[in-house]
């Protein structure tokens, strides 16, 4: 139990970490959007954003300002409280799970050793899953409260999609827990010092990443916003910054999912470390960031390459391929772990 003297210190340190992490996350999101537009443009032999700043580097800032000053249209007959609540919920939950992700080992400032993680929970992994499982409501409520046909169908489809792939996501993660014997993300990373989990769990990783792409509503699973049939999906009626909140939530979820993939399968912050103490404590953060960035690039690459599933294919794939394969992967992993520990 924290004694009363170090409680204010803990709170202050936490607040500082939260502000830094959120600042980095928001900036990262802005530039992932820029990166996405650039990469997809180059895949399609276009230039992408080019006018605002050198190579369009100030585009995210311009976008944010535009969103802020756009008219915030609240259509008649929407359910106003829930119409407001839905984007807030999506935003809050999307930015919440980052709190248990370890992005480095620890740093020593003025005699205090500060772990580079907002907090390490011994149910950390389950905490991320719990927050993810609540994310359905942002989508479902946005669709319902809009009182319009496209959002309703979009919201409904996407909630059904989210819950279906959540099962495979959970099962894919269980196999990592079997190897690590812990739900604390820090311990899971530490335990990969010898060999990254990707070598032990290639199938588990494939399942995780597929489910994660579906959970974040990205191509080829971006049915909720299949513009050809559903216009904008659940956020059709949203405009101005309320729309931007959903947009930011989607990218924040992408970052979280990539961070989790890095921590669970690619050794988190682990990597070669050298040099003076300060460099020593900051290099892991760099490795972590580079690994996460690689995942985000794969996300964008997939979007530029693959066509979209049909809805019945999507649900069929989730329930008839992902779920049984993930279940068998858990059994297979447990068999091997039991064999080796005898």
């Amino acid at each position: 139990m924290a004694t009363h003297s170090d409680l204010p210190l803990l709170l202050l340190m936490t607040l500082a970490k939260v502000v830094v992490v959120l600042g980095v996350l928001l900036t990262a999101i802005a530039y992932i959007v820029w990166m996405e537009r650039k990469v997809v443009a180059h895949i399609q032999s276009r230039w992408g954003p080019y006018l605002v700043g050198p190579h369009g580097l100030l585009q995210p800032l311009a976008d944010a300002l535009k969103f802020l000053f756009k008219e915030d249209i609240v259509p008649d007959e929407v359910d106003r409280p829930i119409f407001w609540l839905a984007p807030l919920l999506a935003f809050t939950l999307a930015f919440l799970s980052i709190s248990v992700i370890p992005f480095g080992e620890s740093i020593t400032i003025a005699g205090h050793t500060i772990p580079l993680q907002i907090t390490d929970l011994n149910v950390g992994l389950l905490f991320v899953l719990a927050v993810t499982s609540l994310g359905v409501y942002g989508v479902a409520l946005a669709g319902w409260s809009s009182n319009s046909k496209f959002p309703l169908f979009g919201g409904l489809r996407s909630s059904a999609q989210l819950i279906s792939y959540e099962l495979s996501l959970g099962l894919a993660v269980v196999s990592v827990v079997l190897i690590a014997g812990s739900l604390s993300l820090r311990e899971i990373v530490e335990q990969q010092r010898g060999l990254w989990n990707i070598c032990k769990q290639p199938l588990g990783f494939l399942l995780y990443f597929t489910a994660a792409v579906a959970e974040t509503n990205r191509t080829p699973f971006d049915l909720p916003e299949a513009e050809a049939e559903l216009v904008g999906g659940y956020h059709t009626e949203y405009s101005s910054f309320k729309f931007a909140m959903f947009f930011m939530a989607e990218y924040a979820n992408m970052v979280t999912v990539s961070c989790l993939a890095t921590s669970l399968f690619f050794g988190g912050w682990l990597g070669p470390v050298f040099g003076p103490p300060l460099v020593r404590s900051l290099l892991p953060v760099l490795w972590f960031a580079l690994k996460v960035l690689a995942f985000l690039f794969v996300y964008i690459w997939i979007r530029g390459t693959l066509p979209r599933f049909r809805y019945d294919q999507l649900m069929g794939f989730g329930w008839r391929v992902m779920l049984p394969v993930a279940l068998l992967n858990v059994l297979g992993t447990s068999l091997i772990v039991a064999w080796r520990s005898v």
Binding site: A2, L10, L11, T14, L15, K17, V18, V19, L22, F67, L68, F69, K70, D72, P75, D76, L88, T92, F95, L96, S99, I118, T119, D120, N122, S133, W144, S146, N147, S148, K149, L152, F153, L156, I163, S164, E166, G170, L171, V174, V177, G181, S182, V231, E237, S240, F241, K242, M245, D312, M315, G316, R320, P324, L327, L331, S334, V337, A338, V342
Partner: protein
């Protein structure tokens, strides 16, 4: 133990405040020029037809039900996986039996066509 959870609360409150500030700010500075057409639900430019909140396919309801049941199963897998290394073979048999029984249920819903969305 509890002080590990306090930062989560702090983080949650900061994020919530941030969200509220952004929403409030955009509602405050954004232009407001409403018109009946703008405020109508979007239906590809046509005047809206009928009520938006229609009843829809039972499949969505079924998928919700099945999700709960399999989610409970996954919930049991986590504590099992954490202590698995100390349980060894008895642990494997316990979970094998459990999953086998649930696989029977899974095969049943597959046979019944509950997982077929093209119908």
């Amino acid at each position: 133990m509890l002080e590990a959870y306090l930062p989560v609360l702090v983080h949650f409150l900061v994020v919530l405040a941030l969200g509220l500030i952004i929403l409030g700010l955009s509602a405050w500075v954004g232009v407001k020029r409403p018109s009946p057409e703008k405020l109508a639900p979007y239906e590809c430019g046509m005047p809206p037809v009928g009520d938006a909140r229609e009843r829809f396919s039972i499949s969505f309801y079924l998928v919700g039900m099945l999700f709960i049941l399999f989610d409970v199963e996954v919930a049991f897998l986590f504590p099992w996986a954490v202590v698995y290394k100390s349980l060894k073979w008895p642990g494997f048999l316990e979970m094998f039996l459990y999953i086998a029984i649930l696989l029977a249920g899974y095969l049943y819903i597959w046979k019944k066509g509950a997982l077929d969305w093209s119908r």
